[in-house]
Structures are given as structure tokens and as C-alpha cells.
């Protein structure tokens, strides 16, 4: 029997080792698996490489992880969200390495990691400072940048509902990076608002099939503010 449910957040993140690469979904706080990241903070792993769109806001989730000095490097597109003081302080103090990637290239590199595509050529960033040091090649007379796949040791994602096989359904714009990151890690851990019966999700409406998901942990949504 396939049952990917785990009993606690602590159990869900227990085996993240120092030095791991962790893909963290979300666009700002929407779709962010903030409780998983908080559990990782409590677990204590250090020297992490984080792949995310942002670099945390306020003092929770990614921001706390960065503020506590656990993150060696962040690969992201937009570290400047509302109140990014944890990242800002670490960045200004030279305590965190930043690899800045255009958002679409970031998403595509993660997808490539999940899809068995080792590298690809894109026009995005050609001729800019971001392409410095990267291979550039002409196709149809236009410069293209070679970009390589990204994979995680772990992916932390967040969904609205799941069945015990790990089939996931998202709500509205909380989908964002979740289906992409779910594909691209050795271990994908999903925090979900609720568990539904196996077979209750129409196969045509599954957003992330369970084949991509290793662990599911329930974190009820807080009441809407």
C-alpha cells in the first residue's frame, strides 16, 4: 500500500543534512511551505543552498533561516520583497552568496532538472551582466545563453489537498513554483491543508501526480485574515 503521509513536520524534514540543496516554492508568501521551512530551522541543518524565487520576508520561513545564518547560498530571481531585512543584512555583511537568475530561467532550469534535460539555450539574459561567464552561442544570428539544470536534494512544496498517493491539487495562484519544484528533487515533501480520499480527485484535475511526491504532511490553513 502506498501511503506517503507522515505524522509531523519534524518527521517530514528529519533527514535534511548539512550542505543540502533545498528547493523552496512560493511567490512571496503565497504557496510558500512556511511551516516546513520553520521545521527545517528547528531541525538545525546548516550550510544550506536554497533555490527559491524570493529570499524571505519579515522574520519567518526563509527569512528566519537566512537570519540564523543557515543558508550558505541562495539561487533566486528577486531577493527584494517587502521587508527583506534578514536577507539584506546577510547580503550586506557578505554572509550569503547570491546567484541571481531571471525568474523564467530559474523555473526552466528547475524543470530541466526534473525532466532529464541537462542544459538548454535561451535568449534571455544574453548581452547582460547576468550572462557574464556563461557560454553564449548564436542560433539564427541571435545570441543565446547556455543554462544548466538545477536539482534539489529536497523540494519543499505546499498544496491545498492531497490523497495518500501524494496526488496534489493547488488553489489559484498558490500553484506557482510548486508543480515545477515537485519534479526536481530527490525527496519532495508537500505540506497540504487537508487529506482527501484516494480516488476523490478526478484524474483530469490532478495538478501534481503522486509520482513526484515522497512525503505529505498536513498543516491546516490558518483562518483567513
Amino acid at each position: 500500500m502506498i501511503d506517503k503521509r507522515v505524522a509531523s513536520l519534524a518527521e517530514a524534514v528529519a533527514d535534511v543534512k548539512d550542505g543540502s540543496t533545498v528547493l523552496c516554492s512560493g511567490f512571496g508568501s503565497v504557496g510558500e511551505p512556511v511551516e516546513l521551512i520553520e521545521a527545517l530551522h528547528a531541525q538545525g541543518a546548516r550550510d544550506l543552498v536554497i533555490v527559491a524565487n524570493n529570499a524571505g520576508l519579515g522574520d519567518t520561513g526563509l527569512a528566519r533561516l537566512i537570519g540564523s545564518g543557515r543558508v550558505r547560498k541562495i539561487i533566486c530571481s528577486f531577493p527584494r520583497t517587502a521587508d527583506p531585512h534578514c536577507f539584506d543584512e546577510a547580503y550586506r555583511a557578505g554572509k550569503i552568496e547570491l546567484e541571481l537568475v531571471p525568474q523564467g530561467t530559474l523555473s526552466e532550469r528547475i524543470r530541466a532538472g526534473g525532466a532529464g534535460i541537462t542544459a538548454f539555450y535561451t535568449r534571455v539574459s544574453a548581452g547582460t551582466d547576468i550572462a557574464k561567464g556563461k557560454e553564449v552561442r548564436l542560433f539564427n544570428g541571435e545570441p543565446h545563453v547556455l543554462e544548466e539544470a538545477i536539482r534539489g536534494d529536497f523540494a519543499f512544496i505546499r498544496a491545498e489537498s492531497a490523497d495518500r498517493w501524494g496526488n496534489l491539487v493547488y488553489r489559484r495562484a498558490a500553484r506557482n513554483f510548486n508543480p515545477v519544484m515537485a519534479c526536481a528533487a530527490e525527496v519532495t515533501v508537500a505540506q497540504v491543508a487537508r487529506i482527501v480520499e484516494l480516488g476523490s480527485i478526478d484524474p483530469d484535475h490532478v495538478h501534481t501526480p503522486g509520482i513526484f511526491v515522497d512525503r505529505v504532511v498536513v498543516v491546516p490553513r490558518s483562518p483567513r485574515a
Partner: protein
């Protein structure tokens, strides 16, 4: 001479979007554009975080915390809207599926070069977001921008001094003072606000300006800050 307000710049840009257009709205000024589409037109707004059919800000009490735009502002989704994941949101952008990308900017050059992701302040962490993807991928890139910085320096320049987002990508610019096209010959002014003359606009611009023969008056109706904005 009365410069346009930020909302009036957004209003002006909205008037040029044709019925049926698919349009991405970048962070900042552009996100205001969706409030001002003329009656009777259907324009589909795309947001890099996976929303197609972005609607106006929600009425009080109808906020959905899972529905935000690229600037993390709460939005609605219109009938006919669709949600896609991030990778498909950027497949749409990079694959040339958007008719227009409306972007903010720090600087635009007379060649259409765009600089909107980093300044020359090394202590200010830069932020790319989807700007490079949008600048390269959309069929047409338009910029909404204040004509000068707060301390009066031109943002429309002969050459960008800030790092480029993409070269030769901007086709039209809406400022608080003028509407300009970027042509092979550089900036061409299509409209400017009443009370401004060509020499005055030129003094606020760091690249030679040409003026369209039919150069018109840039005007917009009075627009209050919307209660729901």
C-alpha cells in the same frame, strides 16, 4: 504644465491596448493599468506568477489570499481566467505568446535598451524577477515611467548607465510628460502634456528628441486613488 499622475500614466497606456490583447503587467506602475481598460474591450492580463485573466483589486471582504499579482497585491480573476504553474507562465512569456509587456524601468535608451533591475548602488541587492524574460519574450515591450528621477535627472537617456535588462527591446514609452516611440532614429514624441514645449521636454531628456508631425496633447481624465486600489 501639469504632469500626469501615476494613475493617469496607467490610464493612458491602457487606452492603447486593443480588444483581445494578451498583456503582462510588471511590478509597480504597470499593475495599475488593468483598472482603466475602456468599456467594451476584452483585454486579458497575465501575471508572471501564473494568472491569466487578472481582474481588478477585490472589494473589501472578498479578498482571496491565494490570488495575487506580480507585485503581491491582492487581485481577482475574471470569467474566462485560467491558472497555470510558474513554468507555463514563463513559457507564455518567453515563447512569444504575449502581445504586450508593460514594464517599469530605471532607464530607457534611445536605442530601446531597458535597465530596470539594478542601480549603481552596490549595497542595494538587485532583483531581476521576470523582467529579463518579459523584455525578450513579449511581442512588444512598452515602458511606463516617470520622465525624470525624483531629483530631476533624465530617465530617457542616450545610453543606459545602469545594467541592462535587455538591449533594443522597448518600442513605446509612457511618461508623466509624454508618449514616445523608440524608432531606428531614436525617440519620437507622439504626445506631450499641454503647457510643455519641445525645448522644455528636450531639457528633461538625455537623448535627442524628434517630434511626430501629428504630435498631440497628452491628456487623461482626473483619476482619484480608488478606494479598492
Amino acid at each position: 504644465m501639469t504632469p500626469l499622475s501615476r494613475r493617469q500614466i496607467a490610464w493612458r497606456a491602457a487606452q492603447d491596448l486593443p480588444d483581445g490583447a494578451y498583456v503582462n503587467l510588471g511590478i509597480g506602475l504597470p499593475t495599475l493599468v488593468s483598472d482603466y481598460i475602456p468599456e467594451g474591450r476584452e483585454v486579458v492580463f497575465h501575471s508572471e506568477n501564473g494568472v491569466l485573466g487578472l481582474g481588478p483589486a477585490p472589494a473589501p471582504g472578498e479578498e482571496d489570499p491565494d490570488l495575487i499579482n506580480a507585485g503581491r497585491g491582492l487581485v481577482t480573476i475574471v470569467p474566462g481566467g485560467a491558472i497555470v504553474h510558474h513554468n507555463d507562465a514563463f513559457l507564455i512569456i518567453r515563447g512569444g505568446h504575449l502581445d504586450y509587456s508593460l514594464l517599469g524601468a530605471f532607464q530607457v535608451s534611445a536605442a530601446g535598451d531597458l535597465a530596470n533591475w539594478a542601480t549603481d548602488d552596490p549595497t542595494f541587492p538587485p532583483g531581476l524577477g521576470g523582467a529579463m524574460d518579459l523584455a525578450v519574450g513579449a511581442k512588444e515591450v512598452r515602458v511606463l515611467i516617470e520622465h525624470t528621477t525624483k531629483d530631476g535627472r533624465p530617465r530617457l537617456v542616450a545610453r543606459c548607465t545602469y545594467p541592462l535588462t535587455a538591449a533594443r527591446c522597448v518600442k513605446r514609452i509612457y511618461t508623466n510628460l509624454a508618449v514616445l516611440d523608440v524608432t531606428e532614429a531614436g525617440f519620437v514624441v507622439r504626445e506631450m502634456v499641454a503647457g510643455l514645449d519641445a525645448p522644455a521636454l528636450q531639457r528633461l531628456t538625455d537623448a535627442p528628441l524628434a517630434f511626430a508631425p501629428d504630435c498631440g496633447v497628452l491628456k487623461a481624465p482626473p483619476l482619484g486613488e480608488r478606494a479598492r486600489g
